[in-house]
Symmetry: C2
Subunit: 471 residues, 2 copies
């Protein structure tokens, strides 16, 4: 196993020459900001790294703005880092080589809703919740829900997924096309609004998940989904994580088109109870949602209820009103913050493994045994329908040995997931933290292909340098 770069990201600051700063100020005026507060706000994310902030933040409002910044940066070989909601967990937006943070949050217009084609085109700074608010009268919705109200640019760049992916896929399946500013400052469009295409290399999917290292996405065309006629959510409690996961595995293997299937372990249930006053049984729990026609939802629910019963599941509770459903899913989305509050002052080291569904119970069981033996506080939540789960190790930042212990557990878990033909990251991306793991997972040959593509498309290494792999 290769050591991840978790303790001290490698810093190689590249100076931002005065003429470039002058040119940025001349064009952007007050939208070019060098104040420490703004720079620091753009130099932090949800990752546990402390890195000096970018040298300057530019608030872009148009494709032309982005083209201007990138063209200039390329001329001066200065890094550019796209910035959306700042909700990355892997250090994606940290300025490890200095440079310019391109804030895209003002590019927040929904450009075109094509309801009859089930597509929408948005600027990269639109957030997923904003999108769903703006299209709520169309009878459609955008299903990808990673929890945080991330921007669609950020979600595309990290190939995000979340709770609905088991039915609707990830950003990989739901981005139809992109407008992107390449390293040379050219505006390029990829994909079409057709549902499928065999027209040359799939640049769209090469860019989705490239973490800002190949271009700055400015516009995104997405697939939408008709709002289901019926929606029903339920919770069910189990004696063990194993029993909950086995129920999930059997659901997927039967081909039940379940929309969401989330695991919360007893620690996570305790945390959301404390935070959201839910009064749930403090046992391993599945939180599920079914979408479809009324008949189909009922049929799915009956099938899963029978599977749960066979695995000792108890106390199947239905949330039939939208308010009840929202309350449950809000609690699920608060799980991370709720969990942090279980140990005041702690920070979380979070894992993101995803394994083939048949290995999921074995993977989680062994992981629970390891962390229980370690004595470190933790909780587990998982998009288990996809085989993806997150362990949050709650460490005291003032106790370095806890950090070391958490990283050791993380290493053990990743090694286990890879041995099971899984991945070190189901949805958060590589960023800074998992560069070593990527090498273990993909192998030197595949990572070298990635590097070769990066060098060819970004010869001056200005696009979010220092992420995914060392060059």
């Amino acid at each position: 196993m290769n050591a991840p770069a978790e303790f001290a990201p490698h810093l190689e600051p590249r100076p931002l020459p005065a003429p470039m700063l002058d040119a940025l100020r001349a064009r952007f005026g007050e939208r070019c900001v060098s104040s420490l507060a703004v720079r620091e706000q753009h130099g932090r994310d949800e990752s546990p790294f402390d890195v000096p902030p970018p040298e300057v933040v530019v608030f872009c409002e148009s494709n032309d703005d982005v083209v201007f910044v990138v063209t200039l940066a390329n001329r001066h070989a200065v890094p550019v880092i796209p910035f959306g909601a700042g909700s990355s967990l892997e250090g994606h937006l940290l300025a490890v080589q200095g440079g310019v943070s391109i804030d895209l949050t003002r590019m927040n217009r929904v450009l075109r809703v094509n309801a009859e084609d089930l597509t929408v085109t948005v600027q990269a700074g639109v957030t997923r919740m904003q999108l769903n608010r703006e299209i709520k009268d169309s009878g459609l919705f955008f299903p990808i829900d990673p929890g945080a109200d991330a921007t669609l640019g950020g979600m595309s760049a990290t190939r995000a997924s979340g709770t609905n992916a088991v039915r609707y896929g990830t950003m990989r399946e739901n981005v139809l096309g992109l407008t992107v500013v390449t390293a040379s400052g050219e505006l390029v469009h990829t994909g079409t609004r057709a549902r499928k295409s065999s027209a040359g290399y799939d640049l769209t999917r090469l860019l989705v998940g490239s973490e800002g290292t190949l271009g700055v996405m400015t516009e995104i065309t997405l697939r939408l989904v008709p709002l289901p006629e019926a929606v029903s959510a339920a919770v069910c409690f189990f004696d063990s994580v194993d029993a909950a996961v086995r129920t999930t595995i059997e659901t997927i293997q039967l081909g039940v088109p379940i929309a969401r299937c989330e695991l919360l372990d007893a620690h996570a249930v305790r945390a959301v109870n404390a935070h959201d006053k839910l009064g749930l049984r403090e046992q391993p729990m599945l939180l599920m949602e079914f979408h479809g026609s009324a008949a189909s939802v009922q049929e799915q629910a009956e099938t899963v209820q029978a599977l749960a019963r066979d695995n000792g599941g108890a106390d199947f509770q239905w949330a039939t009103t939208p308010e009840e459903r929202t309350r449950l899913w809000t609690a699920r989305h608060h799980a991370y913050l709720s969990g942090l509050q279980m140990r005041p002052g702690c920070r979380a080291v979070t894992t993101d493994c995803c394994v083939p569904i048949s290995r999921l119970a074995e993977c989680i069981n062994a992981t629970v045994a390891d962390v229980d033996a370690s004595g470190l506080p933790y909780f587990i939540v998982g998009h288990v329908g996809d085989g993806n789960f997150h362990v949050a190790y709650l460490i005291d930042p003032l106790q370095p040995p806890e950090r070391v212990l958490a990283e050791k557990l993380n290493h053990q878990l990743v090694a286990r997931a890879l041995q099971m033909e899984g991945t070190c990251t189901g949805e958060h991306g590589i960023g800074l933290h998992k560069m070593g793991f990527l090498l273990d997972e993909a192998g030197a040959g595949a990572v070298e292909l990635m590097r070769t593509i990066k060098r060819a498309l970004d010869p001056n290494n200005i696009m979010n340098p220092g992420k995914i792999f060392a060059l």
Copy 2:
């Protein structure tokens, strides 16, 4: 519009040096074949081009065999062209620059079925029908069905789709990982068996649809789908193509999870009637299939029946037994050959446009008007649930003006599809024929990104050179 290279593909033969041929013969013995018959068989596909055959054909039986050939070819800068079933429609396997045809049909083993994970790993020479035969006791099936019994390597390389894509996606969505021999002769694995991943660049999807120009795929890990509990197929007849297409559009917009939704125009129905003695009404027809639980299939069918009725659809006929369904789908798969027989001695110029579903009726109507006015015989079949349809212009190869006319109509159609934000190719790929169209569709900037990737990953341009774009 850029002119396609249809009349005379640009030939730049590169000599195969004697020492390379000696080395191939030394390793492969009788599996290295230079006879004209075998070379010609490997130098033809379903496209209308006449190109000299490859200089030699090597029958590979292992990854090591492929590594050996590619390593040698790279050293001598000689082209290699992967060969599967030879069912390409776009000239993908024609040796426009000479070189070695790598026949992969002996790499035809299903390596691992992981039924509990709904995945399978196959060698690239396995055909889709073979795969479905070999897994038929698993309760699973591989849904992608382009008609021809293509190899899974060929289907991956062209990003194939076909009749089931409306529900199950295309090769883009169904390839989880690849083993590929890169231009330098290195064996690289991409992807994992997990359902999703954010681990670095999506090399799998860059390679899917790259038409052999970035590497030789030798092994493919695919998603499988549980066999539906119930399957039902139906035909329905309409007064006009427009009415049939409007029924399709409304079905998709309602979110009905229809598995297959195929259009045959009256010419195509007449052709399959003649070929397969079906006795269908010779009117525009939809051929549909519904998958799911018994209740869900019934519900879907009722919904679509109501939509068809509102559009004047008549004579809804159900095929409830597997034998009846097979008979209908076999006829559909014969449509291309049946259509050719409508004009003895003809060749077909085939289109492959795909447009956003809301524009499909308009696109087909205008296309029908053009071709009717031209007087050229033709038929139309379409995967209309995806917005994808094929016009086959039946030309007399001894009458060059007919060829010119067909290409003019093809140009008009592609221009129309692009103007509607569609693509020139839904599933056949670019190959030789659509290189000009790709430039129109993607733009010079995007094609230059593709070229840059190609040059970086294949500096000697040995991987199926002369396809997709000129270098």
